[in-house]
């Protein structure tokens, strides 16, 4: 490592455990005080050797810094990573192709409305519902399977796969094996589907990509796998975090009921306040020495970006711990930024705007039964595992 390595970095002291504490499930319900602590050391050398950056200005700087990269190419390991893990030029080529075939305009709004209506209809006659299992979970999976062109009857197979793969991000025994297995199965399924689309045609993104000359089957499969997982878990958490936040601020539920358009700015604040992707851990590394806030992160270092901490940086957002649905100048990092800005952001916005507005409108007197609710293990894609709620009626 470079001679300057670690210059000015708080290393291996009591603070090095901050990242470990953040990753600890015991702190999942409220990691925000830890993030505030983290911001006091702009560049923290963590126990895992990575450099943790948490202030808004610094995170944004690194997101746009071409001296920081992911290091993968489309000719990587045999299975093929997707463009989310690639640098340009491969990233740009594949993302552009995928974007061309990914319909996420207003035109799909009625379809979203129909799915949401169906899910809420099923809550009729019940007093106790789980907003995760009954709503947040099935909704985005149905939508993304539709967008990709996965047949409806195959949809249930995706839930356990996506779960296992996302679970693999957590360093717990057995997780990695389960993730690898799900990865193989999903890849096998998607490859067969893509081959079928190539032969017979079809609707949706996968068929569009299959008929486009720009992508190999392996690249189409990797793209499909990415969108299934990314479009799934993040949106589940965004909806669940959103309802949790609204149930903690019941007057906002009333306001949203009276004015469904409030969902538009409210969602942006939600993306700031409770972002579904909390941190980008060790995926990026430095291609050269990079100065951040007066500290040199040496060439070849792993970098962890704590988006959720940056979103609460008081130097950027006044009164950052207050949920303020009409917050002006709300350029949050809830969808990340730079070239890897969320590919499905437009779709996610529509999904969650419709979901929150409809839940607010139709659920009568919803009350949180557990606060905090039980959380998923995952610290990166953070959200409640269940969100038990009592309601009087469904209109």
């Amino acid at each position: 490592m470079d001679a300057r390595a670690g210059a000015g970095v708080t290393s291996m002291s009591a603070q090095t455990d901050l990242l470990a504490q953040i990753l600890d499930h015991a702190n999942r319900a409220n990691p925000y005080p830890l993030y505030a602590e983290l911001r006091k050391t702009p560049v923290l050398r963590a126990h895992d050797g990575s450099y943790v950056v948490s202030r808004y200005r610094d995170v944004v700087g690194l997101i746009h810094d071409p001296r920081v990269g992911l290091g993968n190419t489309s000719q990587g390991d045999g299975d093929g990573v997707s463009f989310i893990a690639m640098d340009p030029p491969d990233h740009d080529r594949l993302r552009r192709l995928a974007m061309r075939h990914f319909e996420q305009s207003d035109a799909i709004r009625p379809e979203l409305q129909r799915i949401v209506t169906g899910l809420i209809d099923r809550m009729q006659g019940r007093q106790r519902i789980d907003l995760v299992d009954d709503f947040a979970y099935p909704f985005p999976v149905t939508v993304i399977c539709d967008r990709l062109g996965v047949p409806h009857e195959d949809e249930p197979r995706f839930h356990p796969w996506a779960d296992a793969i996302v679970g693999g991000l957590d360093p717990r025994p057995g997780r990695a094996e389960a993730a690898a297995e799900a990865h193989v199965e999903m890849t096998r399924y998607l490859s067969a589907l893509v081959e079928r689309f190539r032969a017979q045609g079809g609707a949706g993104l996968l068929s569009g990509l299959a008929s486009d000359e720009g992508m190999t089957t392996q690249e189409v499969v990797a793209t499909g796998r990415l969108l299934l997982i990314a479009g799934h878990e993040t949106t589940v958490n965004l909806i669940a975090n959103g309802m949790l936040t609204l149930l903690r601020h019941p007057h906002l539920l009333d306001r949203l009921r009276a004015d469904p358009d409030l969902a538009i700015p409210l969602l942006e604040e939600l993306l700031r306040y409770e972002p579904p992707v909390q941190l980008i851990r060790q995926l990026y590394s430095t291609l050269d020495d990079v100065d951040v806030a007066g500290t040199t992160i040496p060439k070849g270092s792993r970098v962890t970006l704590v988006l959720a901490a940056a979103n609460r940086d008081p130097a950027r957002f006044p009164d950052p711990d207050r949920f303020h649905p009409e917050r002006p100048d709300n350029q949050h990092l809830g969808f990340f930024g730079g070239i890897h800005y969320c590919f499905g952001a437009a779709l996610a916005r529509q999904e969650v705007q419709v979901a929150l507005a409809e839940l607010a409108r139709r659920l009568v007197n919803p009350r949180l039964l557990e606060d905090p609710p039980p959380y998923r293990q995952n610290a990166t894609l953070r959200g409640p595992r269940h969100l038990p709620v009592e309601i009087d009626d469904v209109v």
Binding site: R67, P88, L287, G338
Partner: protein, 464 residues
């Protein structure tokens, strides 16, 4: 924060401000005045009949028919409570009497004045030919309406005279509409004045790939109409002629300073000279107290670029300079802010988004640091005396913030750091800007020398 004098407070409560120019800069200046607590009388004077509207879409989405001209009205961020004098250009300024004279004879008194009269399209030099139907210079909404009608009539060929940004964007829309397009440019490549010949050559390939009949190093010498007064034919100085039913005149801009001719201000063809705080100089180089300028019409010394007076024809410049000018107009001396904006602009043509930061025209050399010009997606940096002065991106704008910081900090050129998507070899080549002695079309950042009283076109010596 500060102790305001009685005079300042009285001005904020009941003073009179006149903003001459009711486009992007004028509107933002007005909004800033109100937002910062000016409660006095506010008058906006504009030569066009419309309330402020946005111009960049006029040569892009509006011309292509994807949205109507009316949709470009600029939103008001706050209630302006202003008196509007639209469709009545200012024709004179009486500084001693503190009055702006309007066409029609009305005189509007002011305590403080903000000049934001902008630019207009340089007209075709022969008035008879310029008056032919089908000859259009693009600047305002009405120009776009006319040009759209001409394009919709199915012309045999569209001739674009001048391949600056406006000309290139019009050519792009013409090809998008499936029309045969010829572009005639005096320089050796399109965008040469703004980006230099080295990157201009990439733009030339882009145009030709999209079916443009691009002719560089030529000048259109005359336009010829039919019996009904519609343009049908153009003659070039290489002896050739071509049939065209539309001629788009895209020869850059002229600064709207004629109305200030007898005002005694440092105003001329190169713009209205002002200091780094937007206060206008008089013709002797003495700074005035109560006259400010912003937007395309202003030329001010830029600390990042050797305090040379720059005139910036950029959207972001109009917005940000107007905010600084309005703030300083309202503020006591100690609260005034310098205008430190690094120029940025964007263009969209032939399916490629072009964005830039800094002043490319200051660069002697250029190097591609990311991507590849062959793929039409790259980042190019411009260097001047060993430091980075500008970045230009083709379809790579997401990196621009990083390079903006390199420019702001005068980072070494050529850069030595490693980046993603780095070409195998970083070749530094001459940026190849045209000799400033030869006027080129629409450079957008105009270097106007170091003298506040510079009123004529000056020659910046050729490099070397």
């Amino acid at each position: 924060m500060s102790i305001r004098t009685g005079r300042d407070e009285a001005f904020r409560t009941s003073g009179r401000v006149v903003i001459v120019g009711a486009s992007l800069a004028g509107l933002h200046a007005a909004e800033t005045l109100r937002r910062e607590g000016f409660r006095g009388r506010l008058t906006l004077v504009g030569d066009e009949p419309d309330e402020p509207y946005d111009r960049p879409p006029l040569s892009k989405q509006v011309l292509a028919g994807r949205c109507p001209p009316e949709s470009t009205a600029l939103p008001h961020a706050c209630a302006l409570d202003a008196e509007w004098r639209l469709g009545t250009p200012a024709i004179g300024l009486d500084r001693a009497g503190r009055r702006v004279r309007l066409a029609g004879g009305e005189e509007i008194p002011f305590d403080r004045l903000l000049i934001a009269t902008g630019t207009r399209a340089r007209p075709w030099p022969n008035p008879a030919e310029a008056a032919l139907a089908g000859v259009v210079a693009l600047r305002g909404r009405d120009d776009t309406r006319r040009l759209r009608q001409e394009l919709a009539a199915g012309p045999r060929r569209v001739l674009v005279i001048g391949a600056g940004f406006t000309g290139s964007e019009v050519a792009s829309v013409g090809r998008e509409l499936g029309l045969p397009v010829t572009v005639a440019e005096r320089a050796a490549s399109p965008l040469a004045g703004a980006l230099g010949g080295a990157i201009g050559a990439v733009a030339a390939r882009l145009q030709r790939e999209h079916g443009v009949d691009l002719r560089c190093g030529v000048t259109v010498t005359s336009l010829e109409g039919d019996a009904r007064g519609h343009v049908r034919r153009a003659y070039l100085d290489d002896g050739s002629a071509l049939d065209a039913d539309v001629a788009v005149v895209a020869l850059g801009t002229l600064r709207n300073t004629e109305w200030l001719r007898d005002s005694g201000l440092g105003a001329g063809p190169r713009g209205v000279a002002c200091d780094a705080g937007c206060r206008v100089f008089d013709m002797y180089g003495i700074v005035t107290d109560d006259v400010f300028a912003a937007g395309d019409v202003a030329r001010s010394p830029h600390p990042l670029f050797g305090f040379e007076f720059l005139a910036l024809e950029h959207w972001s410049n109009a917005v940000e300079q107007a905010e600084v000018a309005a703030h300083n107009l309202l503020s006591a001396e100690s609260e005034r802010r310098p205008y430190l904006h690094v120029p940025t602009f964007w263009s969209f043509q032939f399916g490629v988004g072009i964005e830039s930061a800094g002043v490319p025209a200051l660069g002697e050399d250029v190097v591609v640091v990311q991507g590849s010009t062959d793929d039409r997606r790259f980042v190019a940096l411009y260097g001047h005396q060993g430091r980075t002065v500008a970045a230009v991106t083709f379809d790579q704008s997401k990196w621009l913030d990083f390079y903006l910081e390199q420019i702001e900090t005068a980072a070494p050129f050529p850069p030595r750091y490693r980046t993603v998507d780095q070409p195998a070899q970083r070749r530094v080549v001459p940026a190849d800007f045209p000799d400033p002695a030869v006027p080129s079309h629409g450079p957008m950042v105009i270097r106007t020398g170091h003298s506040p009283t510079e009123r004529a076109w000056t020659l910046v010596p050729a490099r070397g």
